[in-house]
């Protein structure tokens, strides 16, 4: 299926790969593939970690516990390095983001045609397996982070303090319209940059895999193997960046205006 495309059929192939499995119309459309894959991957994450947590022992840890503890400690250290308040939410949030985004991205390393092919056998016409190439998924994360930023800003600074910061920063009280504008842009730039960075990287990565899949079969391994190896770095890095920036944004929300 991947070889021998030319002209219109190549375009069809690409478009096919970029079309979600949907139900509903207009705004009320649901991307079933994104939802199912992200929920399944989330459950994989949760059950692996839950299993390790249930069996956690203070004695000599086993392999699974070791692995899980490394990730937990990694997330915890990132939070402790950046965030100086006390919060029960932020470290688990960072861990969840890192692991979940990593698993989303990891789906990019599954050969592009494999899962859609299986889906085709059972009559599913479209399937996009990488949730992070769907803006709904990346914005789902970053908007939740935005909600948390606003929630913590209100909680820590109070409505008045937050409003004062919005109006008097960075140019002082006399230029409050400019301050307001800047602060709104700054606030909105956070989720936008978070989600678009992840989306853009993974979308581009997937696109390159799709384009490689259009080439003659004998050249595909020569290109897709190095790209996949490189991609291992990218998917980890993107998950890491998303996590770290979330921590940074939330710690900024916790701090008084500078």
């Amino acid at each position: 299926m991947s070889t021998g495309h030319s002209g219109g059929s190549a375009t069809d192939y690409i478009v096919h790969h970029l079309t979600n499995l949907t139900v509903g119309k207009g705004f009320w459309t649901l991307h079933l593939d994104t939802l199912i894959f992200s929920v399944v991957l989330g459950m994989v994450f949760f059950f692996v970690f839950r299993r390790a947590a249930v069996r956690a022992t203070a004695g000599v840890p086993g392999g699974l516990q070791n692995f899980v503890e490394i990730l937990v400690e990694f997330a915890d250290r990132q939070v402790k390095d950046t965030f100086h308040g006390r919060s029960e939410l932020i470290a688990p949030l960072a861990l969840t983001i890192f692991c979940w985004v990593f698993l989303w991205n990891f789906m990019d390393l599954v050969p592009v045609d494999l899962l859609p092919l299986f889906a085709g056998w059972v009559g599913v016409p479209y399937l996009r397996v990488v949730p992070s190439t769907d803006m709904n998924a990346t914005f789902g994360l970053s908007l939740t982070v935005l909600v948390l930023i606003i929630f913590y800003s209100f909680k820590i600074k109070g409505p008045i303090g937050y409003a004062r910061e919005f109006l008097t920063h960075p140019f002082g009280p006399y230029l409050f319209p400019a301050n307001l504008l800047l602060n709104i842009v700054e606030l909105l730039a956070k989720p936008l940059s978070l989600s678009l960075r992840l989306f853009g990287n993974l979308y581009a990565g997937e696109m390159i895999f799709i384009l490689i899949a259009l080439l003659p079969w004998w050249i595909q391994p020569l290109l897709s193997w190095p790209w996949a190896v490189f991609h291992i770095l990218i998917i980890t890095l993107q998950a890491f960046i998303f996590m770290v920036l979330t921590i940074v944004y939330l710690s900024m929300a916790h701090e008084e205006s500078h």
Binding site: N20, G24, G26, F27, W28, T29, L30, H31, T34, L35, S38, V39, G42, F45, F46, F49, R50, A52, A53, V54, A56, T57, A58, G59, P61, Q65, V68, E69, V72, E73, D76, E88, L89, A91, P92, L93, L95, T96, W100, P131, D134, M135, N136, A137, F139, G140, L141, L143, T144
Partner: protein
């Protein structure tokens, strides 16, 4: 941009996942890790304490051995001194005894000599009387001449 209701679904999924992680995954793992950390710290502290105790005990043992050696040396020196004293005393005593024996022997000899002299004197007096008797050929009145004879005996 084809943002749609999927976004909300993703946000709900994310929120639930974070909530589960926060409630069900994070606390047990953190507890286990903290407990292990504490165990290791305790173990290290215990090891350190034991090491110090061992050091102390070793020092004490060395002290005890040194003290015992000093005591032993003292005892030996004392014993040597005592032995020398005993030998000295014995020597002294022996010397004294020898002296005493010598004196006694000398006295005995003196006694013997004076007794012998006494006997000799008696014998000579007897002999003199015997001789005089024989020369005179007649009885001498012993009672009349006793004084005379005794004077002669004393002069011998």
């Amino acid at each position: 941009m084809n943002l749609n209701i999927t976004l909300l679904g993703q946000m709900i999924t994310f929120a639930l996942l974070v909530w589960f992680t926060m409630k069900l995954v994070w606390p047990p793992l953190m507890r286990a890790m903290a407990e292990r950390q504490k165990n290791i710290a305790d173990g290290l502290a215990q090891a350190e304490r034991s090491r110090r105790e061992l050091e102390l005990a070793q020092k004490k043992a060395v002290d005890i051995i040194r003290e015992a050696r000093e005591d032993a040396a003292g005892v030996i020196a004392e014993a040597g001194k005592r032995a020398a004293k005993i030998v000295e005393e014995a020597k002294h005593q022996a010397h004294g005894e020898g002296e005493r024996l010598l004196v006694a022997a000398r006295a005995d000899i003196e006694l013997e000599v004076s007794r012998a002299r006494e006997q000799l004197r008696g014998a000579i007096a007897q002999l003199a009387v015997e001789g005089a008797t024989r020369v005179l050929e007649k009885e001498i009145d012993r009672a009349a001449h006793a004084k005379l004879l005794n004077d002669v005996v004393k002069q011998l």
